[in-house]
């Protein structure tokens, strides 16, 4: 029988509930956030065993230093042309976000989500992957499509749910699906894409293909069961997949502590599964590129999965439905110690003597024009709510490959009712 110690003398327990450092109105001071110098992290061989570099899950791989120079083993040594192309894609992403955010405010669509401050995470990854590597993104990686040179007008058509929307108005704005750019249909349900990416990668491996998969989720979403099942499968079958955790510090109003950041890093999750883990400066496009390239190399050589935590900051609201001033200090974004990814890459190019502020300003202007022109083009196909852009009966299509009788019957009911009521009736 267990011992019968009296518990009268035990001290009462207490519950720890995380609390972010700063709330609305607070002065922001990030000085106790440890930021290791650029170039300090070692770069293991791409066939090193994951348990030989566990420390990388607790550090921060950084390439761009305070002096705007690329340093250390992780420097991907990209040509100035490639750097400029990357800078441009990031700036275009930001310009696109600006315009579409405004379009939502103007009532042209129902919803929008920006990736401001996190552009490097998606753009630099797209540059480091092959064009047919399969991406399973969350809703904040529009940069992937832009970096893969996808049509802005097409993206906007989707956002406007208009006549030309490739998704036929069926999906919430920004929930793109672009098969020809190896970009998987985005889900509204957090983290579901994670095991799907692992399954895709397993299938590619099982078929002796050469393509790998990459997936992204926010730090908040790592709490979902899907994250765990994905990591478990990836570890067990050594799936050729890159698991990206975008730690932008916030999940709507909850700071990263509610996903576990007080106890350890998100890269440490990789250690838990015995898979390769990297924690990197997500606002450093070169670090993102280098980490992705290294992880891709591991995947392509059957070394299995890599989990990359991108340490970054969500500089704007969660979505157009959100007002971050309600729950966090307005100063955080400006004070963020890892800076802005676009500015940092720009400054690097300038330091290399390959760019200047004038060219940057000209490019920004040009991109704003590009985006504006695209928006005008897309708006020709209509915007949300101004007319029903899809024939009514499309609602019943693509539920199944072939429409079963009950949907055909419901379609007929709808058309009959619409007709009886004198409404416009589709095709």
């Amino acid at each position: 029988m267990p011992v019968d110690r009296p518990n009268a003398n035990l001290r009462p327990l207490s519950l720890h509930v995380p609390e972010p450092k700063f709330r609305p109105g607070d002065t922001v001071d990030f000085s106790d956030l440890a930021v290791p110098p650029a170039g300090a992290a070692p770069r293991p061989a791409s066939d090193a065993a994951p348990d030989s570099f566990r420390d990388l899950a607790y550090g921060l791989v950084r390439v761009l230093g305070e002096d705007n120079r690329a340093v250390g083993a992780w420097d991907p040594k990209l040509s100035p042309d490639r750097l400029r192309a990357m800078l441009r894609a990031m700036a275009l992403t930001r310009a696109f976000d600006e315009r579409m955010y405004r379009a939502q405010r103007q009532g042209k669509t129902s919803f929008y989500m920006k990736s401001t401050g996190e552009e490097a995470v998606a753009v630099a990854a797209a540059f480091a992957l092959l064009p047919d590597d399969m991406c399973f993104p969350s809703y904040r990686q529009q940069g992937l499509l832009i970096a893969r040179d996808w049509s802005l007008v097409d993206m906007m058509n989707q956002i406007y749910s208009n006549r030309a929307d490739r998704l036929h108005g069926k999906q919430l704005p920004i929930m793109y699906s672009v098969r020809e750019k190896s970009f998987f249909s985005i889900s509204g349900n957090l983290a579901t894409q994670y095991p799907q990416a692992v399954g895709w990668a397993m299938a590619s491996a099982a078929r002796g293909d050469t393509r790998i998969a990459a997936t992204w989720c926010g730090e908040g979403s790592t709490a979902e069961g899907d994250f765990h099942s994905a990591c478990t499968f990836a570890s067990v079958y050594r799936a050729p997949v890159i698991l990206n955790v975008v730690n932008n510090q916030w999940a709507i109003s909850s700071f990263s502590g509610f996903a576990g950041a007080e106890a350890t890093t998100f890269a440490a999750r990789a250690v838990g599964y015995g898979i390769a883990g990297l924690r990197i400066d997500g606002n450093d496009a070169l670090a993102v590129y280098a980490a992705t390239e290294w992880a891709a190399e591991r995947a392509r050589t059957n070394q299995g999965p890599t989990l990359i935590e991108h340490f970054t900051y969500r500089a704007e609201g969660h979505s157009t439905s959100d007002d971050p001033s309600q729950y966090r200090s307005a100063h955080e974004a400006a004070e963020w110690p890892l800076g802005d990814p676009i500015k940092r890459l720009k400054d690097h190019l300038i330091a290399l003597g390959e760019w200047d502020e004038e060219r940057q300003a000209a490019m920004d202007l040009e991109l704003a024009e590009t985006v504006k022109a695209a928006a005008r083009e897309a708006e020709k196909n209509g915007v949300l709510g101004h007319g029903l852009h899809q024939p009514l009966e499309t609602m019943f299509e693509e539920v199944f490959e072939d429409m079963p009788w009950h949907l055909a019957e419901q379609r007929q009911e709808m058309l009959d009712e619409a007709k009886a009521a004198g409404l416009e009736i589709g095709r």
């Binding site: 519950l15 509930v17 995380p18 609390e19 709330r23 129902s110 919803f111 749910s161 208009n162 929307d165 108005g169 069926k170 999906q171 919430l172 704005p173 929930m175 889900s187 509204g188 349900n189 957090l190 908040g220 979403s221 709490a223 979902e224 069961g225 899907d226 999940a251 709507i252 109003s253 909850s254 509610f258 996903a259 576990g260 439905s321 959100d322 309600q326 729950y327 949300l384 029903l388 852009h389 899809q390 009514l392 499309t394 609602m395 019943f396 539920v399 009950h406 949907l407 419901q410 709808m414 009959d416 009712e417 619409a418 009886a420 009521a421 409404l423």
Partner: protein
């Protein structure tokens, strides 16, 4: 008495219960400092502290699992699932655990938890912010399902749900959080203040689970509905001049069958309206029961006006939503039959 909208009434129910019973705790994504993405828990953390009102990690199965454990300890948790569309990851904890715990332990352990979740469409939320999954839960024995249609009921029912010792799903029709909605999406929104149901006592009161409410008495046809649809149906009935009896179910399980059968026996006709997809929706169960019990009174087939058997389409939201046109046409049809 004061005027409240749905959100305020729901907030007030939680506040009243937290003040009365120290075992009541509120947890969920963004419910703490921020007060919930729909502000339903606003002010509660400030008033009751972080150990009684707190944010959670984003894992619905975890939220319900943890709430069950808290319930077993002796607390009375009120978890929020941010959108009903996101309740599926929690289904196992709800159906296999919360709903079964009393039974499988022969009453040794129970799950006195109330799961609040906004549901339904009409806000351009697309397929993952518009669903009405209540039908699924009505098939799970051991769980109650409650859906209010106005602030007064919302508060009284939520208090009853929190006090109930069984797990209860409390689905909130988010389209009418700020005002009743008659389905004419192109008309300006009416605020709750102009509606009877917004007179809400500030103090404690309860509406027993399992009691429906006859919203409008009538002789020509019985209309069964709940949530947002009560207002859409009422609008159609008012406009059409049909002498319909409208019953607000308020709780789906347990169902107030007596009120339903008494009405159908009187009118001889029955129409059911819900936003959820048709096949195997709760309307099927209602139709099955009404024909079982009122067979010889029925003069026409029971009609179902529901969401179509498709996901909720973003741009065709108003074609999907069972609005005044569809309800009006169905009403004509059932009266003709």
């Amino acid at each position: 008495m004061t005027r409240m909208n749905m959100i305020q009434a729901i907030n007030s129910a939680m506040e009243v219960m937290m003040a009365r019973d120290p075992a009541v705790v509120v947890l969920g994504e963004d419910v703490g400092y921020f007060g919930g993405v729909f502000r339903a828990t606003a002010g509660l953390q400030k008033k009751f502290g972080k150990t009684r009102v707190f944010d959670t990690p984003i894992t619905e199965c975890g939220i319900i699992g943890v709430a069950i454990g808290m319930g077993a300890y002796g607390l009375r948790p009120v978890p929020e699932i941010q959108f009903a569309d996101y309740i599926y990851p929690a289904l196992d904890q709800l159906a296999s655990e919360a709903a079964r715990l009393r039974y499988r332990s022969a009453g040794e352990f129970t799950a006195p938890i109330t799961i609040r979740s906004p549901f339904g469409g009409g806000i351009f939320g697309g397929q993952t912010h518009s669903q009405s999954p209540e039908g699924i839960f009505t098939h799970v024995s051991g769980i109650k399902t409650v859906i209010p249609s106005n602030p007064y009921d919302a508060k009284g029912l939520l208090i009853a749900a929190i006090e109930d010792n069984d797990p209860t799903l409390f689905f909130e029709p988010k389209r009418i959080y700020n005002g009743p909605f008659d389905g004419h999406y192109d008309h300006p929104v009416q605020p709750w203040a102009k509606h009877d149901g917004s007179e809400v006592p500030e103090e404690y009161y309860r509406i027993p689970l399992g009691t429906a409410k006859v919203v409008r008495a009538g002789e020509a046809v019985t209309i069964l509905a709940y949530g947002t649809m009560i207002h859409v149906v009422s609008g159609v009935v008012a406009a059409s001049g049909v002498d319909a009896e409208i019953i607000d179910l308020r709780t789906l399980i347990p169902l107030d069958i007596d009120t339903i059968t008494a009405s159908v026996e009187k009118t001889g006709r029955c129409m059911i309206v819900h936003e959820a997809t048709r096949t195997s929706g709760f309307g099927a169960e209602l139709a099955a029961q009404v024909q079982e019990r009122c067979f010889h009174s029925l003069e026409a087939p029971i009609e179902r006006v529901t969401g179509y058997d498709t996901p909720y389409p973003h741009s065709l939201e108003w074609a999907y939503f069972p609005g005044p046109v569809r309800i009006g046409e169905a009403l004509k049809k059932i009266l003709k039959d």
